[in-house]
Symmetry: D2
Subunit: 144 residues, 4 copies
């Protein structure tokens, strides 16, 4: 199974974190946080991570599109405690970059997600601008 | 229109409050918190309010069922700021009680909800136990 | 309890209906369709009802805003069967109108909702235009 | 980018399909079906696919757990048209199997998902029973 490598489960490596309150509607018939709720939490944290990055530098006329999200379920999450989603850049390609996210609750990893975002201009992939690439790599990348 | 009376818009009257983080998925095409997200937030706060009450006294073999929820939309809510839902008991009948809820964001009222909960035993309404009624009235009722 | 009067539980009285597939994410820890899912279904049907009305006549520069939604829970809903939401106009006031909705599953009433919509122009309530009022009353009102 | 191979975009290869009505609450600020809604639709179809498989044969004391879901976003989805999710088994390992899903709307591919399910007994992965494996391979596998 494509478990994330153990090094990705260390919150200290992630430069950004957002705490999210769980909701009663998030739980499924087994009293666990359901996969759809986890998707909403990962999305929310990724949007806020993008906002944090964007406050440092703009991507100009380009915009970012989510091309894929791969999620690993590591353990059950529960209501009513909050969760924290840690975010970091895992790599930057020519026209795309990868965001790694670790969702934990009370110190226990619950889910890991890897999203590929693509820079888009005129509805087509476009190179990531050099200054944006520099910010992603210098400030928001997973720590060694 | 059935606006709540102004006295119900004062957070200081409510004995219980819960702060909820908004999520990107909560916003609608107009960039406002959508009505379904507000319903999820009101439900979440009501469940937590019930848990808080229950920690003081149990309803015994009985359980509480939501019979109705009436929601008033007072202003638009926004992402990404959190909201706070204030809760209080508005009245206690023979087999039911009413929960008032005020949802505000940055000090502005966004929505008001009034829910009727019914005590159920053997799938039928049953009188609210005297000790539970006393706790509802003494400790969790809207302040004058 | 504010149950709807029995006459409102007859689907034959409603001039509009929309069938909605239930989703696994709609069910709560008790295996019932949760209240938030019911709110999403009622909203969806109301939007489609508005679209159907609008295809007959436009509200002009005005737009419609939802001022309140009052929901009665009549019985438990289940997964995986679809539900049908029946919609009709219950009344038209000077600047607002009321939509009645009955959600049923396999012929059994599950929830009833009454929504008040307000005609808005320049961010303020405005009279419902005469031709729109005529369409609401003539074609989309609950049948006697 | 990890696009699915073109052969996976042909609905005719999938042995199971489920049609889902979209909801107004599914759309995001850009008027597109949001990623969380797509996750809910994929989950719903996967549960129904499991139910269809299970009606042919039981997994015994074992149960199935979702270990991972990888989603590719191929095009924007819209409201109010329904979507169809096509499902098929892509492969069966010792204790896990892979479900491929193609979500399309009006004949256009919108998203592709690949989920890994694990057979669990006593909270640990356990071999997929031979008869269940046979059913997955014989009847529910992607067609050549």
């Amino acid at each position: 199974m494509p478990r994330p490598e153990p090094a990705l489960l260390d919150p200290a490596r992630y430069p950004f974190a957002h705490r999210i309150t769980t909701r009663f509607a998030d739980i499924d018939p087994n009293q666990h946080l359901n996969n759809v709720a986890l998707a909403a939490m990962m999305e929310d944290a990724r949007v806020r991570f993008n906002l944090a990055i964007g406050s440092a530098i703009r991507i100009g006329e380009r915009r970012a599109m989510v091309a894929s999200v791969a999620m690993e379920y590591l353990a059950q999450g529960h209501f009513p405690d909050p969760v924290t989603v840690h975010c970091g850049i895992e790599g930057v390609g020519r026209s795309s970059w990868t965001v790694a996210q670790l969702l934990e609750q009370n110190g226990n990893p619950v889910a890991f997600a890897r999203s590929v975002l693509v820079a888009i201009a005129d509805d087509r992939p476009t190179p990531v601008p050099d200054d944006y690439r520099a910010v992603l790599l210098d400030r928001w990348t997973l720590r060694a």
